[in-house]
Each structure stands twice: as C-alpha cells, then as structure tokens.
Symmetry: C2
Subunit: 514 residues, 2 copies
C-alpha cells in the first residue's frame, strides 16, 4: 500500500519518471556472525520480468488507495519493467553489511513499487542460505545434512523456499518432495513414529512376502526371531519389531529404522539388529538407524559400540551402518556435538533451519540513493543507520594469501583499485579508521542481471551452491567461526567518504535543547 500510495503521489507531482537508484542491503550479519550468503537473485529477476497488474488488481487498488485518477490507472496498467536495471552480487556470494547486494535503477515510480517484493525475495533466501552455511561449517564437511522442515515452516511456500536455499547454502537434500521436484534437490526420508505405532504385534505380519537378493522366497520373520533369541540385551517391543520386519520386507535395500518409539537402547536397537542381521544373511545391506530423542552424543556412541560388538559377535561387517540424528537440532547443538565427540553420520534438521529460530529475519532495507544523478542520503540519529549516498562501484580486494581483505565502495567516476597499488580504505563512519590495502587481485562485485532483458544467464541452483561453497572455502576462517568471529572490512574510498560527510552535515538540522 505504501508503494502504491507513493507511486501515485510521485505521479501527481510529475516525479514518477525521475531517474532513481535504490540500494538493497542489510545492516548487520545474522546469527551473531560476521558473514552472509547472498541468495534470491534469480527470483528477483524473474519477478521484475513478469511484474504487471491485471485489471482486477487495478480495480482493487483504485478502490482502496486514495484518489486514483484515470491517468494513474493507465500508468499502472502500462508499467514496463524493461526500463529497469538490476545490478547484483553473484548468487551464492559471501557478503557483508552496508555493501548493496543489489542496486535497482529506473523510473522512480516503478522502482518504488518493487520495494517490498524485492526485500521479501532477498531477505528470507539469504537468511536461510546463511543459516545452512553456518550449520555446514559447524557440522564439518563429511557429514550429510538433510532439511526436514516442511511441517514447521512458515507456510507452504516458506517451506519450499527453505528447501531451495538451504541446499544453496550447503545442505545435501530435503524431505520435501515438492521442493525436490521443482528444484532438482535430492530427497530423503524413511519412517516416522506413526509407522511403528501402527503395528501392535507379530501376528500382523503373518503373511509377509519376502525374497532375498537373488529372488528366492525366504522366511524373514523366522530369521529375525532366530537372531532375537541370541540378542539378549533389552526388552524389545513386539509391535516395533513387526514394523521393522514389514518395512525391511518392503524396502530391503533401504532399511533405515527409527529406533526411539519405545526405548532406544532397550527396544529400538535390539529390534533393529535382529532385522539387520537377517537382511545381511539374505544378501542385503541394512542402511542404519535414526535417533529422534535423548542425548544424541551419548546415544550415538553407545549405538556405535553395540553395532561394533554385534558385528563382531555375528561375524558381519556393520561398520557402514549410518546413524541419523534429528530432534530440534540447531547450530549450537552441532557445535556442541563436535566438541563432545559423536558417531552421527547424517543430521536431519527442521525447525531451527527453516524458521531461522535464532533470528527469523535478516532485516534488509531498500534505500533511495540517487535521483536524476543527484546522490541522496537518509539520515538517522543512529550513525549506523545513515545510508551511503549515490550509485557506487563495489570491489573486493584480495590479499597476498588469497583471502579477501576488504570490500570497498567508490563513486561512479573514480578509478577502480589496481593490483599491486596502494588503495586507501576508509571506515564508512569513523574518520580515524582507515587503512591502505595493496590488492593481489581485485574482483568486481556487481553484475548487471536485468536491463529490460536478461543480460546474464541466471545461475542454476547447483551453480550457486557450488559458488557459495567456493566462496566459503576462500574466506579467512576467523570471519566464519562460531565464537567471536572477526568482522570483515567494508570501506569507502576517500573521495566517497568525504562526499558523504559533506552531504551529511548539509542535510542534518542542528538540534536545540531547552
């Protein structure tokens, strides 16, 4: 409604075609960290490409916005986003506060209308991708991370976005089949408690059909019960055992059992082992188990020990059995598990990943920085909320060791930093904080992705995922670490710094107290 009302007021004062530039950026990295993974670019470009109002939309708008005259109706009907330009970072880029992740240029009226939608389409994807990347850093490279969040996400499309962008940020798959289908993400998911509870005893699987790996008819239940009599620990639940047998019969190559329905160590694990041993006997490799409650570090170590001992006792190799863990896992849990030591191979993560429980919004903003080639500043009593005026050239300066040292913004007509030459980087607000950098490499950060037409091929999800991983690998680890990470420098050229200070003191009124 703001955007419509403002567009209408621009239209009435004849400013709707003024040439505007808006920066889209955030002011603080999420999750108490010092980096963010940029995502959402492709959705923005597609949104802008297809942006138009139907007659029905316009009727609604004009019945609800103040004073909607025929000329403005007509303007709304003929909005042409081919007059808009979208500059942005590459999707999957590591990025930092205040440097615009996108700049939108074009007629003031149209750029204004895009504000809320663009913020929505960048904030949540970038937040999820960052959350996923942080969980990947906390769990280590060799673990498998699966997104399990559909049931807990904020709406059906919140769930699909979460699957998509957690994959971009470094997850390996999702349990959401719609997301899998739409974005070609590997899917996984086996059984939940209901399956196990639906069985009450062994009589329910009397007529089980089962053939071994060579296609011969076999008595799976008989074999399982033979092993059961040899596995003495625990006091297993019969319904659970029946459910495992029936599941193994249905999917003998995909037997992964949820073991905590009744009691993990006293029922789930012994029941799993009997079925696993029988499957082995018939030529199949059981996959493993899932823990969904209890102390995951302790249980996983206990379970691994039982697996090894049972393998030894029955002379079978159980070393490839996977332990999957789920149950309210977040970044801190992963970090704490790493510290304690554990035997988990695969993490299933839902709520904390998809809702970003630790910080459910990135807080992106969309600020006017230039009108008709004249830079604008948005002031604030808080210095960190002041915007950096004008269209800016943005570069990343890479140091001798190959790590990025700083991002720097320059005025449009300045000479870019050069390899091997000293470049003065100024803190955006504090005059005394400045440093020379001699870059070994200079990377241009903004690319033009929409200029009335797709100007660059939009990256595939797989490409952006790969790019994000590479970016994280070549970032200095102290910027990425969980505890007290080092802030990354985002700087201004000296000319831009001075220009901003000048504009600032010109626009701000002097206060008065009495």
């Amino acid at each position: 409604m703001y955007e419509i009302t403002m567009a209408s007021a621009y239209y009435k004062s004849g400013k709707h075609n003024d040439n505007a530039a808006f920066d889209l950026f955030f002011r603080k990295n999420p999750f108490d960290g010092e980096f963010t993974v940029f995502a959402g670019l492709s959705e923005v470009v597609n949104f802008v490409k297809n942006f138009r109002f139907t007659d029905e939309d316009i009727d609604y708008i004009c019945n609800n916005a103040p004073k909607c005259d025929p000329e403005f109706r007509n303007w709304l009907k003929n909005i042409d986003t081919s007059t808009v330009k979208i500059y942005g970072l590459k999707e999957g880029s590591i990025c930092f506060p205040r440097l615009p992740v996108m700049r939108i240029e074009g007629p003031l009226g149209i750029c204004q209308l895009l504000e809320s939608a663009l913020l929505n389409l960048i904030s949540f994807p970038s937040l999820i991708a960052t959350n996923a990347a942080r969980m990947r850093l906390a769990s280590g490279k060799d673990k498998k991370l699966i997104e399990f969040g559909l049931r807990r996400a904020q709406g059906p499309d919140g769930a699909v976005s979460a699957s998509r962008y957690s994959y971009l940020g470094g997850f390996d798959g999702t349990s959401n089949m719609l997301a899998g289908k739409l974005f070609d993400i590997p899917v996984s998911g086996t059984q939940a408690h209901a399956y196990i509870q639906s069985f009450s005893g062994l009589d329910e699987i009397k007529d089980l059909e089962f053939t071994d790996s060579e296609g011969k008819r076999r008595d799976l239940t008989g074999a399982v019960l033979k092993y059961q009599s040899k596995i003495t620990n625990g006091n297993p639940n019969d319904g659970e055992l029946a459910s495992f047998i029936s599941y193994a019969a249905a999917f003998p190559r995909d037997f992964l059992a949820l073991v905590d329905t009744y009691d993990t160590l006293n029922s789930g694990i012994p029941n799993f082992l009997c079925v696993a041993l029988a499957l082995k006997e018939f030529g199949f490799e059981p996959v493993g188990i899932r823990l969904d409650s209890g102390d995951l570090a302790h249980l996983s170590k206990q379970v691994r020990k039982v697996f090894n001992n049972t393998g030894k006792k029955f002379k079978v190799d159980f070393s490839a059995l996977k332990i999957v863990a789920s149950n309210e896992i977040n970044e801190s849990t992963l970090a704490s598990l790493e510290r304690q030591g554990h035997e988990i191979d695969i993490f299933g993560i839902g709520t904390h990943l998809v809702t970003c429980q630790a910080q459910p919004s990135l807080g992106c903003v969309y600020k006017l920085v230039e009108v008709n080639d004249e830079p604008r500043i948005k002031l604030s009593q808080e210095a960190t909320k002041v915007t950096i005026p004008g269209r800016k050239q943005c570069y990343r300066l890479i140091g001798r060791e190959g790590y990025p040292l700083a991002d720097v913004m320059l005025m449009p007509d300045e000479n870019p930093p050069e390899v091997g030459k000293r470049f003065l980087c100024c803190h955006p607000f504090e005059k005394v904080k400045r440093t020379f950098i001699i870059p070994s490499r200079v990377i241009t950060l903004h690319h033009l992705y929409w200029d009335g037409d797709d100007t660059e091929q939009l990256p595939s999800l797989e490409e952006s995922r790969k790019y994000a991983r590479e970016q994280l690998e070549c970032t200095r680890p102290d910027h990425l670490r969980f505890t007290n990470p080092t802030p990354y420098k985002v700087s201004l050229s000296e000319r831009l710094f001075n220009f901003m200070q000048e504009l600032w003191s010109k626009e701000i009124p002097t206060g008065e107290l009495d």
Copy 2:
C-alpha cells in the same frame, strides 16, 4: 518423502486401508504464554478436498522413492479423500496444549500422506493468530494495529498468511494489498523515507496544482510558507517540506506524514505542522504523523504536546491528529509503552509479528492414536511427550462465573459431563492432581468439518476473527496475562486416565543399567 515411503510400506504390508485416527496438537503454548488461538482450519479442509497427485507428480515420486510398483502407482493416482473425516475446533478458538485441535480419521495410508501438509497449514496460522492476539491484549482495545510485515516475512506466501491470520487474531488491517484483495482485509500505508528523500528543495514543487475543499484553486506552498515563518522551533529540512507539500496536494484528505527522515522534533514535526495548518485553512483535516525511530513513548508525548500548543496558538483543533508508531515493535515494547504512558494511536508492526521472532514455530505434532478401533500410544522417556491414546470426546467446562475452568477428554463411549453434576478431572500424567468440577455449561469442542463433503459451512475470516475476540473476552484474564499467566487445566476423565496408564505400562520396556 517420509509420508510417501511410509504409505508405500503400508501398502506393501496391506495396512494402507486400516482405519486410522491421528491427533493434531501442540505440547506447549507459544511465547511463554498460557493460551493459543487456533487457526488454519479452512485451509486444511480445502487442501484435503483438493488433494491429489498429477501423473507428473507420480513419475517424480516413483523415480525417487524406493521400490514404487505399478499397484502403488495406481493407488497414488486414485487417492480419494472423501474417505477421510476431519474433526476440529472452531477456527478462532482459544486452545491449550495436548487437547487435539484436529482429529483426522480415515485409511491409514491416506491419513499418513496428509501429515506434513496439515502440520504446516495449522502451525503457522495458529502461531500468527496467537501472536496478534497477544499484541492486541498488550496494546489495549482502543488502539489500531496494522500489520506491516511483507518485506520481512518468510517468503511471499508467508507474508500473505501473516496478514490473514494476524487479522484473525485481532489486528485491524495490513499494508499488504494482495492479502487485502484476497481476504478482504482493510489496507493502509502512506509514505516511506524514499518519498521524502526524493525531494531536495522547494523549487521541485513550483507548478503544484491544488484546490481547496470547495474546488477553488489555491496556493498551498504560499500558505505553508506563511505558517512556517510563524513556527519558530526547529531547523527544518526543505526537501522534507517539499515532499510533505506535494503529498498533501496529492492526498489532502489523507495527509499522514513520516516525520523522522531528518530529525523528528526539529524538522519533521514543524514541517508537518505548517502543512497541516495550511490544509485546515483550506478546509481539509490532516490525518497525522508516523514515528519510525527513537524513543516512541517520549517522542509521542512530546509530539502531542506540540500539537496541542500549536492548535492553541493558531486556534485550530488538532486533537484528532493521529500518531502512528512503527520500528521493530514487539509484544514487550507494547507492554512497556503501556506502562510508561504514551500518545500513540496506531501501531504498525512488521518483523516481530510476521516472523514471530520470539518463537517462530508452534511445534505442532500429528500422532497416530488409533488403528482399527485399537488405541495406540507413543511413548517417550519424557512423560510430557507421551501421547494420549484413542479417539477422544473433548469438552470445555464452564464455571459459575461464565469462565472456562477446564477442558476434558473422555473415551468415545463415556457419558459426557453434565451441567450441575460433579465431574472428576484428572491431570494427564500425575495421579495425585485431580479435581471435581461442577460445570454450569458444557461445550462440545470438536465439530466434523469434512466427511467426504463439507459438512459444516466453513467460517469466513471475519466470523473467525469475531469468534477469537469473543473467546478472549470470556477467558479468565489471568490465563491471558503477559507476566506469569496461570496455566489452564487440560484433563482426562478418570476412565481415560486409567486406560492410558495401563497401556503405558504394557508397552514400555523395563530399562536395565550395567
């Protein structure tokens, strides 16, 4: 993927047509409170009504799920949700942990497939409605609450859901025009910083067209400048003044100005007042101002004082001017503003409302409670995670003073509680906690909303909103309060309590330590 895999395993073991009942419930009220507002029912019924897989879906499923044979394909293709029954609370009901907000009955295979989707469709709506209701309680009945969250919501549809269910929970409107259009919610929104920044000085509004309330051409800028010379306080910014004049010229009946772009008290307010006085002179009523930064309690009081003094000085009535406040407002801010005293009439609330920052997920669960008339229990080492077995009759018992005293669950064949007769209510887990209640009224909580056909007219958003408000009004205030609210009783009949204990001890294996 779980649901598909399980359905496939049920199918293979011939259990897919077993008669199942699942409870959908939550274990803990959100936001450290003691109540929840139930929402999402209509979406669930519509989802179930339209639930089917396309051939393309089935191809995808069968390429990705383990062992998908032609018979299962065929079953997927012919899923018929007219065999499913949905019982639920009325949308907008106040509800409490453990009592099922819905019960789904039907073939085990189909009910299982619905799990994740139904959880998704209930959790977020109920969470948002509860969050909105809590904000309404914190702000008081006479304030206007507008949802401003599109830019910060979790995905575009997360935003639309947030608008819809915050309205249900007691908000008055939204700034999201799509939500307004889809659900007939009042919309509002005036201007943001970009509008003000887009003006740099008075020369930009030279050719302003303006007519007074009687249609006569008038010099608005001249009138404004005349008042400016008489308003001595502050050091106002000219660009801001130009933007206010242009906005007032466009919408003289809807002039609500954002006053914190440069400096609220030294620029925004004096600029607003000059324009407001000029509008008054020409027969229009200015609407008010919006504060978007700073100390809202203090500023609102200062601004009200300036409004009153200016009104007195120029002999105009400024008492109807509205003060709107936005900027990261949450429930605690509202409560704290109430304590401090303030002069705000309207709150615009975004991030904290729509992402439910204080707790972004309700954590609903969907548990199998009965198969073929045989009750099932899901055990857990944590007593509070044990499910209450079987299909249950659910009643709310109203006390002498008209307030609900307890909700109670009974076995299907028990006699319901009767008005004026003692009924023994047992705590679900603790044997010693039990109390007699003599209800003055007994309310049946579950209604059948889907039985292969819509069995009850689904309530409109407006009806559910009204119902939620009535429910809150007739709930004892100590259950609703912000600090240390009193837990509401959710109980079992004695028979259900004993039955559950019996099943529990039968199913749980005895532990063993060595």
